[in-house]
Symmetry: C2
Subunit: 469 residues, 2 copies
């Protein structure tokens, strides 16, 4: 509970205009991109500096007020829904690019910077920040770091974690910690930098990050391949890798996704195809040319019924349309779209897609699957209606079985969306009780009063999707 006295103290720290608690603002920050989760915060605070973050956290810690740090709220695991009230901390006042260092190939940013802004700036200098989560046009880098966001280029270039090399963050007790720097190598103690990446706002608040950049690939080419059966598409993925080619993008859509996309966008996909692969390679022009020729050959050997190689950027854009439309095409079908991210070893893609189809049939729920075939990160997507409690029960059960199937295939419950509230009931499935226990003890070491994003990751009584609050 935020008393008038505490409210005044917050205002003394951040200024009147940066403490908001109108009903309108509380409503705006009561939910994120995750369907069916909503809970009002007590206030929304926009600190202007690391020192203000420190003071706010100290005050919250003293009074045991929950703090939910939030970027643009694009996460899909209810990670930024303030399920226990308290304050939502936003970073519109800490949204500057502090330095682009072309000698050391680093960029130093505040948490509120939009990811796309980073890309635009560094690409204008011939540099490259590879992580490209689907929401990058609106998501913040702080949110990306807290969620360890992935994207379409993970196979070749890795994910957000692989590019964060320095950090400033504030602990719940107000302590300010700086780790790493513009350094390719640093082994001074435990890797706090990577521990913070993907910690979903449960350990502290990031106030600055230094990101590693690489030279921008000179060329890029695109192929779209259509298959009559799933196994041929999966085998194509394996054969490309077996030929020592790591494409930048290796995306997959199943039959159900193909049909919805074709109906929506009329891009000329054969609706009897069981699978489509969208494959892109980047790098030096000669290498891209050679790789694309080899990939085309492999697709044909694997009986692709159609292989389109883009001759230029325009054609490439056309080929990628289908994959880019996947989510929007699905989302228009029914009121609620639940996008999951069960992930398996690359070799198990065909098996997980078959398993998803069987599970969808068993529970009589519509699930279409698309995703990042190259890194086994699948997005089974259910179009449903949260108001239909009976169907939502079945949706929840279906996803439980999908997570279980992924784990049995050597996979995980979440490849890039995070645990948040949505996956917390399943965390022990992946990590066992001993794994969850040691994570809880890390949480306790950082945040003994449990003020940082409480109820996420380990929630004891986590509600599942089926119960509407």
């Amino acid at each position: 509970m935020i008393t008038n006295d505490i409210k005044q103290k917050f205002i003394d720290i951040v200024g009147k205009e940066n403490y908001q608690d109108s009903n309108e603002i509380k409503l705006v920050y009561s939910y994120d991109a995750t369907p069916n989760f909503q809970s009002l915060p007590d206030a929304v605070i926009s600190p202007r500096s690391t020192e203000e973050v420190s003071k706010v956290l100290k005050l919250c810690n003293e009074h045991k007020i929950p703090v939910v740090p939030r970027g643009s709220g694009t996460n899909l695991s209810a990670g930024t829904c303030p399920i226990n009230g308290g304050i939502v901390m936003i970073f519109n006042n800490m949204a500057k690019i502090l330095e682009l260092d072309e000698d050391n190939l680093t960029i130093t940013v505040q948490p509120g910077v939009i990811t796309q802004e980073i890309n635009t700036l560094v690409e204008s200098k011939g540099l490259f920040y590879p992580p490209d989560p689907g929401s990058m046009k609106i998501s913040t880098i702080g949110g990306n770091i807290m969620e360890n966001s992935g994207g379409l280029r993970g196979l070749k270039y890795g994910v957000t974690r692989d590019y964060v090399i320095g950090m400033e963050f504030v602990l719940p007790n107000g302590d300010i910690v700086r780790t790493g720097g513009k350094l390719a190598k640093d082994v001074a103690g435990y890797d706090l930098t990577r521990l913070m990446v993907g910690s979903e706002g449960t350990l502290g608040v990031i106030t600055e990050a230094t990101l590693k950049l690489i030279p921008k690939p000179e060329a890029r080419k695109t192929i779209l391949a259509v298959y009559e059966n799933l196994e041929s598409a999966a085998q194509t993925v394996s054969n490309i890798i077996a030929n020592k080619i790591i494409p930048v993008t290796l995306e997959f859509m199943d039959q159900s996704t193909i049909r919805v996309v074709e109906e929506f966008a009329k891009v000329g996909l054969p609706t009897d195809a069981e699978a489509v692969l969208l494959i892109e390679q980047d790098g030096a022009p000669e290498v891209v040319e050679r790789d694309i020729q080899m990939i085309e050959k492999i697709c044909k050997e694997m009986n692709a019924v159609r292989v389109d190689v883009a001759k230029n950027d325009e054609e490439a854009a056309k080929l990628t349309t289908a994959r880019r439309y996947a989510l929007s095409a699905l989302a228009r079908l029914r009121p609620t779209t639940i996008l999951e991210d069960a992930t398996v070893p690359r070799s198990e893609i065909a098996k997980i897609v078959r398993a998803i189809n069987e599970i969808a049939k068993k529970y009589n729920v519509p699930i279409s699957t698309f995703g990042h075939a190259g890194d086994g990160n699948m997005h089974p997507t259910c179009t449903t209606d949260v108001r239909d409690h009976d169907e939502m029960e079945r949706v929840e059960k279906a996803f439980e079985e999908i997570f279980d199937a992924a784990i049995k295939l050597g996979g995980t419950i979440t490849g890039e969306h995070g645990v948040g509230v949505v996956k917390s009931p399943y965390l022990a499935w992946k990590l066992g009780e001993s794994g969850v226990n040691i994570m809880k003890s890390i949480k306790h070491a950082f945040d003994p009063n449990n003020i940082m994003n409480p109820g996420k990751m380990f929630a004891k009584d986590t509600r599942k999707r089926v119960v509407v609050q």
Copy 2:
């Protein structure tokens, strides 16, 4: 203290032949590669399985017996010296390569596998495990993971941390935890995998690791460039990167190292040169060719007095000789060689080398510097004699100033050797008290009885190099 009763329990777990406590064996495991640190363990234990590791740790935890997990003891920070006695745990019975998975580009290994064995096997299949610490011919992968070992290819390919994607480890309480897997993406909870990497045996014992592999680069070329002055060499490094080329190797030797190497190996280096760069590029043949031509041009523009481009593997081997001999040439000068690894942003190399030279002069100690210029990871190396207490006092003071200079330039106290005992007095210089405190609380969360490699990383009363035990 290991009583007869406890000894019998250890023997019941691992078998008589895997529990050794003769004076000879205790002496053998009383030191590692770090000069001037020695302390006898009470026993040496070789578990044969994860279950045995778990039972041994449980027993040690119950009786508060220190456990020092050890690979081949090649570390340079006294990280595996059993300074508080207890047991040294070795992995000669857990040294199998469990699986090479060519579909998922992973290799799964036990901790006792020699790093070179991994390289040999994967390269025979056209694959590549990039981390190449100097000691890789004898070091174990378990040791590499615990130290987050670097090497010469860090600039382009990263370090050990970047290749560990799955792990099985045992906590001090005996709990067995499995994380990650053959997965490019996994965000199920905190990143325990990367927290364990570089934890120097202070959090638990690794019993299995899954490593990511990449396709082996097809081609490789080598350049040696000689400079009359340090700044030109440093500017060459910057200009190569500014031209969007990331070489696989970008090694540096200063004048003092050049002179010693030349005297030792007679490779024809001009001893009045202030710096030598050894530059290698790998990748697709066309790209390597183009990059090497551009690098040659940059070296000449930066007034290199000599630029040798190897025409074939034999010539390349010849050029790399000088750099490979650096440590051995220095080590023969005097009884004790202290090899450090202060690390700075790439742009600050010239400044740190100048600073090192001034500091060496100030304290009248011989320090030569070579190292990984591309990633700012310098190896100031002092040839001295531990029996000369007066000189050792000055050596310690010189290194203190070097660490301080590195930090002031935005660097760190250790780029790849770890904290161990040697760097523990300086950890707070890099991380501040708040950074060290949160690391200590992580340690406490994992290991409340402080049995795992006690006295390392945070040692309260850490002795410095000068005091002979």
